[in-house]
Subunit: 362 residues, 2 copies
């Protein structure tokens, strides 16, 4: 992978292992019909050649049917209880879970009982105990479970990762990432949204958006943290249960240092920069959807900025999931991978509370 | 200060208080004739209208005279002992000290005895005890002492600071800065250089280059750290006494979080980004000399990159010093200001050693 390869084939689906025309689409039960599902997930499933939404699950069958009426194809609309009772189970092969974090586990448990594969939004649960139960549930049932880290199938991130893996920037030395937005003032002013409820969310800015630079740093380095610390703060009253802002530091193996920042009260910004002994690669903008991403690459005396064609990140993610369900290649951001982030994020809170670095090298 | 002001007057000497044509030049004794003095400081003094080098001080009078022969104007060349004996004291008004860190204090002591003002390179000494003695020495003698933070008179930094102070990016939320280079592999392969000697330098990458993002963050925010931590590492054998790489985190007042990185073993890179509630300002490249600096500013939906005319940073610094010596305005990066960095940097090492956050809010 070099600059010429990126220019020539920037959005290549290097992960593809199956012929999309030779398989039946993976049929999805879509659980949780909030704005993200309606605005992002369902349009991607509609656009996909290898996935289709066949069952919609919401608080009421009526709501599910209303959303179905706005969705291409035909879907059965059921409520959460009906899902847990196994209703319409013959109509789907996998579930996509996009509910508040603390509700992921029960849907995974039902999916496991029904033998359905799982694509579960991140963070995978509200705490690491429940996340571990989620991992064990999937393992015991022999179902596939992927955590929905859409950056891992974002072409800009994959190209950056390939560049790093092939030594284009030398030995990795440092990673710096950030993601911020004005949640209450610009995105959603509702003080009762579940993201602010510690019981449902488990954490604040760290769990919701800090997980992007954290997980992408892991992915770019192909390494997991060994020690972490951080600081949290909140300024709006609505953030009385969870952090509005987090700054955290990560030590990776071989003395690679990471620093990340996430805030629900800072100007929208997102980027990640990896500095090596010989060069640097930056993705900016990085983490918000519907942005044209740029790779900024330096080596020697030169700097190059490569603008990548914008992809539908959710389509990439769903199609990757279908590829792995239909083929034999391993599903990479699996539940065990997601569990690492849960432990790390809890350790960051522990470090913030105890004003200390916390060992996460288990 | 807004974008129009920057475009119109990007390199304005907003700090200037005296008429340069109405004062006699400040005559400098220049102490320490290493590559930085010869390549950066003396050319700036030669170019200045309000400064002139009149005495050169080195290990031998011969070396001083050799350098003098290559320098415009006339200089008396003396050795360090002669300086301490007060030789040629009538020929200069101020001293510029550019020696290994641990030698700053004795030259300041002599300057104080002789009633000469001081411009002292950063970090101001090898440890905070000696730095405090330096402060007290200057205060007792009633001489002015400025620490040579050239970023504080760099136009790009001053314009960024004005933007921040006037609320152009809203409330400051985070600062992220870095400075790195390949010291041994690209800049100076000598394993015996004083920067690697703990006795002479006091610290490694943090003292030598980490001080740039640290001090510039303080300057942009007009605030001092309240708590810090960090991590250090070294890979080359030559860095067995001091850190080759440092990553550090800073909590400023009002929950503003900073993270900085400095390495003598990473690709040359330097930048500083301040993110506020309403916008962002980044200086990149930021800290190395002889680079054309850019200000990258965002607010609302827009992004602007402003390329500033390159200035001679040492000329700006010397002329600022002369302005303050000749006029009545306060000398801003004074010795007490430098002492804060010394305490903070020692606390970063303490935090790295103890895997903890360290209170520096005194």
């Amino acid at each position: 992978m070099d600059l010429d390869d990126i220019l020539g084939d920037s959005c290549a689906r290097d992960w593809q292992t199956i012929d999309p025309t030779a398989v039946s689409p993976v049929r999805f039960a879509v659980i949780g019909l909030g704005w993200f599902t309606r605005g992002r997930a369902l349009p991607a499933l509609e656009a996909s050649d290898v996935c289709e939404p066949t069952v919609l699950v919401s608080s009421t069958a009526e709501k599910a049917k209303t959303v179905s009426a706005e969705t291409a194809g035909e879907q059965t609309g059921i409520d959460y209880d009906a899902f847990h009772d196994g209703s319409a189970a013959a109509e789907y092969d996998a579930v996509y879970i996009c509910t508040p974090n603390a509700l992921h586990l029960p849907y995974v448990e039902t999916a496991a009982e029904l033998g359905k594969h799982v694509l579960c939004e991140k963070p995978m649960e509200r705490d690491s105990d429940r996340a571990r139960q989620l991992v064990e549930t999937c393992e015991a049932a022999g179902i596939e479970c992927m955590i929905a880290y859409r950056m891992q199938t974002e072409p800009a991130v994959r190209r950056a990762r390939e560049i790093v893996a092939e030594g284009y920037v030398g030995e990795p030395m440092a990673v710096n990432g950030d993601m911020s937005q004005r949640l209450l003032d610009r995105v959603n002013p509702d003080p009762d949204q579940w993201r602010l409820d510690e019981e449902l969310a488990g954490g604040g800015a760290l769990f919701d958006i800090g997980i992007y630079p954290l997980n992408t740093a892991r992915f770019l380095l192909d390494a997991d943290p060994v020690e972490v610390t951080g600081k949290v703060s909140s300024s709006h009253d609505a953030f009385d249960e969870v952090d509005e802002t987090v700054s955290f530091s990560v030590e990776f193996p071989d003395g690679v240092f990471g620093s990340c920042y996430a805030s629900h009260n800072a100007r929208q910004s997102s980027g990640i920069t990896l500095t090596g002994t010989e060069g640097q690669v930056r993705i900016e903008p990085a983490f918000f959807q519907d942005q044209t991403r740029k790779l900024h690459i330096s080596r020697g005396d030169g700097w190059a900025s490569v603008r990548l064609t914008k992809v539908d990140q959710m389509l990439e993610e769903f199609d990757y999931f279908a590829d792995r369900i239909s083929g034999d290649a391993p599903m990479e951001p699996d539940a065990a991978h997601g569990l690492v982030d849960m432990h790390v994020m809890e350790a960051i809170y522990e470090g913030a509370e105890g004003r200390a670095w916390v060992d996460v090298s288990r």
